[in-house]
């Protein structure tokens, strides 16, 4: 048979592409559940990491079960209904009984999405811990946001400066050590660093109203509705 014939070439290419596409679709369909579970576990691990829990999971005999049980023990998921959007908030009860409020943050880096979790202390101002991750930032440059060295800088910083919401500034050329809302940017990763700054501002901004009510229930028109909400805050127990 003449394999250089035009018709043959076109038919050959078509059939091959259809077969390959079918195989890939099948693999994706069969493996999806497992992949999704891995992604969920990763998310839970990151949430725990923002409140400095689960760091010893690598030594646990069964990492998945360990993370799941730790998550179930400490974290309550809450949905905040606003007029036009639903916000997610994770409330962590530490071993000491102290509550941490973990805000998921999302933004756009240089090459793809960046995201993270910011844990606030119950004054809704001081950062207890953060964790960041990214899809495809440059290794060694932007990707450094995922390292503990970068996220540790945020500990103890405050999102309010003199009572005004300023978020945290990621400063190029060295943060002022005396400042309560500046951290160092990553050398060579300016766009990713700026993306983190923008992501923090834009994501946390949405929660301000909620914090105001939570910190001072009397400020709300109907105080009985959420009396002493800093402690109770009955979550709409979201299980996802």
């Amino acid at each position: 048979m003449d394999t250089n014939n035009n018709t043959y070439t076109v038919i050959y290419a078509t059939i091959m592409v259809v077969i390959v596409a079918a195989l890939l679709a099948l693999a994706s369909y069969l493996l999806k559940d497992r992949q999704q579970r891995n992604v969920e576990l990763e998310t839970k691990q990151q949430i725990l990491k923002s409140v400095k829990l689960g760091g010893d999971s690598e030594n646990a005999p069964d990492k998945a079960t360990y993370i799941e049980s730790l998550y179930a023990k400490h974290i309550a998921e809450e949905k905040i209904e606003k007029e036009d959007e639903t916000l997610k908030l994770y409330i962590c009860t530490m071993d000491s009984g102290e509550k941490m409020y973990i805000i998921p943050v999302h933004g756009t880096g240089l090459w793809g999405p960046v995201w993270g979790y910011v844990a606030l202390k119950s004054d809704f101002n001081t950062i207890y811990g953060t964790t960041y991750d990214h899809k495809s930032e440059t290794p060694g440059l932007g990707a450094e946001i995922a390292t503990p060295e970068f996220s540790k800088q945020f500990e103890g910083k405050q999102i309010f400066t003199n009572g005004v919401f300023k978020s945290i500034l990621v400063v190029k050329g060295g943060a002022d050590p005396a400042s309560t809302n500046q951290v160092d940017a990553i050398s060579g990763g300016t766009i990713t660093s700026k993306a983190v700054e923008e992501m923090l501002f834009k994501s946390i901004e949405h929660y301000l109203e909620y914090f105001k009510v939570a910190a001072d229930p009397a400020a709300k028109a109907d105080p009985t509705a959420k009396a002493d909400s800093t402690v109770v805050l009955t979550p709409n127990s979201v299980n996802q």
Partner: protein
């Protein structure tokens, strides 16, 4: 079947140190031993199976779209490996993320398909693929062993250098930062080629 097909790519005709193919990924994934092993395994699997598939199709492939057909087959296998890693070895897949996709551009794969699979029966082609994958793996493991040992003081993540030796703990030892950087991989591959050439005199140019 000729035993040489399997033996030669391991050392005597190694794809990395003799044919100098696949250098780019050999530099990228050898900071730690674990990703190097996974990369070697993934390349071996992709190479073995793509050679079999191409060899089975070799008499039907239209010559004019030969390279595209090869690419589609390799790309399919790479995506499958990627999907499997995401499902069964998530941590490793996160570390390898970019590099798994880059298996497709690994010159060893297209090189062996063009040079061997297109002109041989499926079984020898499979053996050639596996052997070349292993030959590539040997270099990766050797380089990664030295880089992880001197660069991080660990092997497969287990600390080898006693903690009290480190300067920060009052000792005398410090990890060598150069071993973590890509240039060191090039130097180590160069050293490997040097050793091999002094053993195999026939490789030396007059």
């Amino acid at each position: 079947m000729d035993k040489k097909i399997f033996i030669e790519p391991l050392f005597k005709n190694n794809p990395v140190s003799v044919l100098v193919l696949g250098i780019c990924s050999a530099l990228a994934v050898t900071v730690k031993l674990e990703p190097a092993l996974v990369m070697a395994l993934s390349v071996t699997i992709v190479l073995g199976f793509s050679e079999v598939i191409i060899s089975l199709l070799r008499n039907t492939i239209p010559n004019r779209i030969r390279i595209i057909v090869q690419l589609v087959v390799v790309a399919m296998l790479v995506i499958l490996v990627d999907q499997f890693l995401k499902a069964f070895a998530y941590d490793v897949s996160k570390q390898l993320s970019v590099f798994v996709g880059l298996i497709i551009t690994n010159c060893i794969i297209m090189g062996r398909i063009e040079a061997f699979a297109l002109g041989n029966k499926p079984l020898p082609a499979f053996v050639d693929g596996i052997a070349n994958g292993l030959g590539y793996g040997i270099i990766l493991v050797v380089v990664a062993f030295f880089r992880e040992f001197f660069g991080s003081g660990t092997i497969l993540g287990y600390p080898i250098i006693p903690a009290e030796w480190y300067i920060k703990n009052g000792g005398f030892y410090e990890n060598n930062g150069l071993f973590i950087l890509p240039p060191m991989a090039l130097i180590l591959v160069g050293a490997f080629i040097w050793v091999q050439r002094s053993i195999q005199k026939e490789l030396q140019e007059k």
